[in-house]
């Protein structure tokens, strides 16, 4: 069972190493000539104003909160989908009640205007 998952580690390692090796190999070929103007932050050719890590709007946070609710739901959906046929009508009704509860939350957020992007 566990040796199925050695592949996961190997694949992730190969992917990471591929990036590292390409960049290191390129280091032998490419020029390296930095000067302050070249290393300045890009802002359409102007001298950058203020810091780059600016504040961003709260709505990103609201959307990610709603996302977390539904993403956790999908984690429950998958095991349910596998054993669905064995559970029959009972499993269906229970899952529909669960999803219905979450949809109620979605409708609430919708009515409250949390889904509006202004």
């Amino acid at each position: 069972m566990l040796d199925q998952y050695t592949g996961v580690g190997v694949f992730l390692a190969v992917g990471a190493l591929f990036v590292a090796v390409t960049l290191l190999a390129g280091k032998l070929l490419r020029p390296h000539n930095p000067y302050p103007e070249k290393l300045a932050t890009y802002e359409c050719g102007e001298i950058p104003v203020g810091e780059g890590q600016i504040k961003f709007h709260i709505r990103y946070y609201i959307f990610s909160l709603i996302f977390v609710v539904f993403d956790v739901e999908t984690v429950f959906l998958y095991p349910w989908a596998v054993v669905f046929e064995e559970m029959g009508l009972f499993g269906f009704v229970v899952m529909m009640l669960f999803i219905g509860t979450l949809v109620e939350g979605l409708v609430y957020a919708w009515k409250k205007g949390a889904l509006r992007w202004v």
Binding site: L12, V14, A16, A40, G52, A81
Partner: protein
């Protein structure tokens, strides 16, 4: 596959320690798949430019090789030889790690994709969760790249991209769950077998496929949902400060994800490698390339939507639609 178990037992009998011998078959498979991805991405970048060209009644690249076929290779050579500029203001570690976090999971997904009845690196029984988990790493890499760049465009692009990705991830995952419901399994190989014994799931999942296709376009940051790198507004989005090979890795990841999407679409809804006459691998590649072409076609047909429209489509359109589809799929499976 027999070849790999023979390789494994051969290494063990040659006196290799077991843990080391266990690592060799996945390593060989990983290198083969890496080669496969690199070759296909090289071809796809050329194909994208040709498709774009011909759809606008241009020729696209024509200079290098017949019909510009080795244009991408020339581009890669240029990119390798380009100076790697890391701006002074960046958060260096995060900046350097972001392309790795982008590429490694996008590559590892190929482990569970069935190219044929026996042609699969590892048939995990939780393949769908595995894919859903690894593809969502893209959000982290975008945020890493955007935040560490210390650039306003990068940060805005990354925030938009992650808002878009998380919004469309939910309908995407739910539409895939409907397919898992039909097949009663999360293994991609089982799903293909179930379809080759009955029928392609597109016949009972037309709405599910529509949701899957739309959400995938958004997940791929493809037009009409290419909000995160809207050139007219955000320069290049999250990768504005990246240059040379470091930028090329993001580009490569994008095309690897495109292949993953096409493979998923054909595996989940169009019978994967199953088909009459031709060898399974050929059927699979035909389907994959059809979906890749479809995505390129859509890109040069539809204009970009606005960000508020994008969020509306995701939360108020696709999410309820995918939930209704899931409920009807459940009823269908009960009555089957």
């Amino acid at each position: 596959m027999d070849f790999f178990s023979a390789m494994h037992s051969g290494l063990v009998s040659a006196g290799w320690p077991l843990w080391l011998a266990n690592l060799v078959p996945p390593l060989v498979k990983a290198l083969i798949l890496l080669l496969f991805i690199l070759l296909n991405c090289t071809f796809l970048i050329w194909m994208e430019r040709k498709v774009a060209g011909h759809m606008q009644r241009r020729m696209g690249p024509m200079r290098l090789g017949p019909h510009g076929i080795i244009q991408t290779i020339a581009d890669v050579v240029k990119l390798i030889a380009k100076e790697d500029v890391i701006p002074a203001g960046v958060d260096r570690w995060v900046f350097v790690l972001a392309p790795i976090v982008a590429f490694a999971p996008a590559f590892a997904v190929f482990m569970v994709i069935p190219f044929g009845p026996n042609l699969i690196a590892q048939d995990l029984n939780i393949a769908l969760i595995f894919i859903a988990a690894l593809t969502s790493f893209v959000v982290i890499s975008f945020l890493m790249a955007g935040w560490s760049s210390n650039n306003k465009w990068s940060l805005l692009g990354a925030m938009r991209a992650s808002a878009q990705l998380i919004s469309y991830e939910v309908p995407l995952v739910i539409s895939v769950a409907s397919v898992a419901l039909l097949a009663g399994s999360l293994s991609l190989q089982d799903i293909v077998r179930a379809q080759s014994q009955s029928f392609w799931y597109i016949l009972v999942q037309p709405i599910g496929f529509l949701v899957f296709l739309t959400a995938s376009l958004a997940e791929l940051n493809r037009s009409p949902f290419d909000m995160s790198e809207a050139e007219q507004e955000l320069v290049a989005g999250y990768n504005t400060e990246y240059s040379g090979m470091r930028w090329a890795i993001f580009y490569l990841t994008e095309y690897a994800n495109l292949i993953t999407f096409a493979a998923m679409a054909s595996t989940l809804f169009f019978g994967g490698w199953s088909g009459p006459g031709l060898p399974p691998f050929v059927w699979f590649m035909i389907k994959v390339y059809f979906f890749i072409f479809l995505v390129m076609w859509i890109r040069w047909t539809l204009p970009r939507v606005r960000i508020d429209q994008l969020m509306d489509i995701g939360w108020k359109g696709l999410l309820p639609l995918s939930l209704v589809n899931l409920a009807f799929t459940g009823i269908y499976v009960l009555l089957r």
